[in-house]
Amino acid sequence: MIGIVEADLERFTRGDIQAFEALFREYQGEVYGWIIRIVHDSGAAEDLTIETFWRIYRARARFDACRSFGAWARRIATNLALEHLSRHRPEKPLDSVFPIGVPGSGMPDAAIAADVRAKVLAAFDALPAKLRVTVRLAMIEERPYAEIADALGISTNGVKSRVFRAIRLLRKNLEKRGVRP
């Protein structure tokens, strides 16, 4: 990260608003990008980004300036995104959240039959929020397990265990719906 040095982090921990502004401007995009991966909603991601920095500001005295600010911010953001997912089950039809598109465009693959897609999305949505986030980060976004572990505040083995449990649940649910991946 450019521009942010340990002295800025120390000034931030003492409540210096200019140092906080510098940190905010430096990391807002990164935090937003992390949250939108989890919540898939730009409006909610913006609100959660603000909330993340609000909590960061309130907890500034507990921050150790020798540690990574980005990792700390990511952990707070992940907790908030998880809370958001637990509170808000998707109300929009799944097709509006994941519209059909072309492969590689960030849109679902049009080659998958609509009913299979609907079943996969329903099975994914039926997972508990913690497993959904872990699956999204590990299997869809393919983030390193160590990074996911850090963001979720658990061990790498904890991430592996969640992925294992999620796969088992997804398979069971998909088999019930007649889909065998």
Partner: protein, 72 residues
């Protein structure tokens, strides 16, 4: 991850890929600034007094707890 898990992963990625646009479109600092400047919520002393009275009543007359819960 073994081979069948890779198939499931592939299915998931094709059905529900990550959002294509992950860029923040606007600067959120003005909103953050407003949030920082918002005065903290102050609870009037009357509310504290009312809560304390209610707590005291519940401690002195615990048999009223079901009635209070019913009214809530």
């Amino acid at each position: 991850m073994n081979e069948p898990d890779e198939a499931l992963k592939d299915l998931l990625r094709r059905a529900a890929p990550g959002p294509a646009d992950r860029e923040l479109k606007r600067d959120l600092w003005p909103e953050m600034r407003r949030r920082l400047e918002r005065p903290p919520v102050q609870i009037p002393w009357e509310d504290w007094a009312l809560a304390a009275t209610l707590l005291l009543c519940l401690l002195l007359f615990p048999e009223t707890i079901p009635a209070v819960l019913y009214l809530l």
